[in-house]
Amino acid sequence: MKPLIAFLIVVVIAMIGYNLFTFSVDETQKAALLQFGEIVRIIEDPGLHFKIPFIQAVTYLEDRVINYDIQPLDVYTADQKRLAIDNYAIWRVGDPQRFIESTGGRLNNAQGRIDEIVFSDLRNILAGHTLDEIVSEKRSDYLQQVTELSREKLADFGIVLIDVRIIRADLPTEIEQAVFERMRSERLRIAAQLRAEGEEQAREITSSADKEVEIILATALKDAERVRGEGDAQALEIYAEAYNQDPDFYRFWRTLESYQVALASDTQIVLSSDSDYLRFIESMFDK
């Protein structure tokens, strides 16, 4: 029985001793050892640490990066436009002593401080710039200024401000509607322009086709007249060449030919009896 009881006593003493004289600090934490409310030791290294029981108490602090979504706030820009800005701050506990002294080691208190300081710095910096500048690529520079200003102030609270960024910068509803209206009219203008351009090109195409057609036909007619002329000229040349061999005979021949056409039937003709052809009739009467 005795060894069993002895063993159990040892175990219990070890457990009580562990709880009274030591404490462990996690990788995600820092700790401060307080003696009658006063900080006597800051523990930044995780692991097992010793304390004096009953006299000293441990306060644990968050040692991880905290992303704090700051409440959206209204900011007036240099050109008197209102922006609803939703931003976040990335921070962590830097100096545990100062942090505990100024916030009592409570995250809520710390975030209240961050709210106030980042609010005012953001408001001050953005008030110096126009809306266009704020929504442009210069935004990163402004945020850098805010971060640096606030970081300096928050260092007094043992807070390390890592970064401040704007999650969202929304225009007030009435300005948003104005923007939509402008976008709409701009698109309608573009649409009208596109349609007009279509008309322009279409007319250009059709009219140039019409022009081409007229030119093609006129050219063809011109060439046709020339060709006809050539035909006439060549015919003339052929006639002239042949008939010039004996113009006298041609006159005779052609006249006779034309009689056959020109003096058609049912023509009344008065012939003199001493004409070449009827000469012999006269002589017949004479006999």
């Binding site: 069993l4 462990s24 600090v25 996690d26 990788e27 995600t28 995780p46 097992l48 990066v65 905290i66 992303n67 690529e137 960024r165 999650i167 969202r168 929304d170 948003e176 923007v179 402008r182 976008m183 709409r184 009219s185 649409a191 009208a192 596109l194 349609r195 351009e197 279509g198 008309e199 090109q201 195409i205 059709t206 140039s208 019409d210 093609i216 007619l221 046709a224 060709v227 035909g231 006439d232 060549q234 052929i238 006639y239 042949a242 008939y243 004996d246 005979f249 041609y250 005779f252 021949w253 030919e257 056959q260 003096l263 039937s265 023509t267 003709i269 008065v270 003199s272 001493d274 009467f285």
Partner: protein, 333 residues
């Protein structure tokens, strides 16, 4: 049974086998020891743990990180001495901005979150962008010991980065050719921020899901598209008209040309024909011009006179007295 246990626990019992009453007296102590060994065994067994195939185990001793273990069955000293944090380092996690997946694939359904999706562009317009960010753990100790909520920090940083990037672009750039660069630029900038926060997170990719004009002005943007179509249509119709007209005109021109050519050839051939007859006759005429002339003359008279009304006036009858109507005279006979 109890004897066996007794012997096992107490080596002296073998020597004192003849005194069973001694064994009986020791029995409660034996049960106590068995209970303690059981408790110690169970306590020690709580240190057995497994690390999944995609996980890394971070071992802490009194809260301080002492080492990393690979997947498999492992043992650590039980609480309060050691503990283990298992971190899935292969899992690809996802953050959605501007939309939420209501039900996953297949039959995926998504819901748009307008307040997240609408953002200002560099030229003072508003655009609608939805992105999905996929990320992984690249440093398990950083993630485990430095972050409280990794999803939230990635989401906030991604949203801020996306807005900063869109603000450097014009509306048209976000909607057309340059839109794909948004994803790449967001990824680069976001990785930079997350590294500066010492998060131990690696961004795998940033996927641009939807980029479109805000729903309030979508009709006007659609009208631009339909205007573009109208423009194409007008041009196509005009081209069709031109393509229909010009070849026809060319055909017509060819027709005119051909007709002219035909006229020309007809004239030439006709004249050649006319001339050929004359030339033939002329060649024979030269054999006896006088006789041929007379013959041609008389032949012609023969051809033309029969069908004509003829009045012959004689020189010697002094005027019209000796008028002779040959037809009437002929008819009277």
């Amino acid at each position: 049974m109890s004897k066996f246990i007794d012997r096992l626990l107490d080596p002296d019992s073998r020597r004192e086998e003849g005194q069973p009453q001694v064994n009986l007296r020791r029995l409660p102590s034996a049960i106590g020891w068995i209970a303690i060994i059981l408790v110690i065994g169970i306590y020690l067994a709580t240190g057995i743990y497994t690390i999944g195939p995609s996980e890394e185990g971070l071992v802490k001793r009194f809260g301080a990180y002492v080492g990393t273990v690979d997947p498999g069955l492992h043992y650590h000293l039980p609480a309060p001495f050691e503990s283990v944090v298992a971190i899935n380092i292969l899992e690809v996690r996802k953050v959605e901005i501007g939309f939420r997946t209501v039900s996953p694939a297949p039959n995926a359904r998504y819901q748009t979150v307008e307040t997240e999706a609408l953002m200002l562009t560099g030229d003072g317009n508003i655009t609608h962008v939805e992105i999905a960010v996929q990320y992984r753990v690249k440093d398990a100790t950083m993630l485990a010991f430095n972050l409280i909520n990794s999803g939230e920090i990635v989401k906030q940083a991604a949203e801020a980065t996306l807005r900063e990037q869109v603000a450097t672009r014009t509306l048209d750039e976000t909607l057309t050719g340059l839109r794909d660069t948004i994803g790449i630029d967001v990824m680069t900038a976001l990785q930079g921020f997350l590294d500066s926060y010492e998060t131990g997170i690696a961004i795998d990719n940033v996927q641009l899901q939807t980029v479109k004009p805000p729903s309030e002005v979508v009709a006007a943007f659609d009208d631009v598209n339909s205007a573009l179509q109208d423009k194409e249509k007008l041009i196509n119709e005009a081209s069709r008209y031109a393509l229909d007209l010009v070849p026809r005109a060319r055909g017509q021109a060819q027709e005119i040309t051909n007709q002219a050519e035909a006229y020309k050839q007809t004239r030439i051939l006709g004249s050649e024909g006319d001339v050929a007859r004359f030339v033939e006759v002329l060649s024979k005429y030269e054999l006896g011009p006088e006789v041929t002339r007379i013959r041609l003359y008389i032949e012609t008279m023969e051809q033309i006179l029969p069908s004509m009304d003829k009045i012959i006036l004689s020189e010697q009858t002094d005027g019209l007295l000796k008028l002779l109507n040959l037809d009437t005279a002929g008819g009277g006979q």
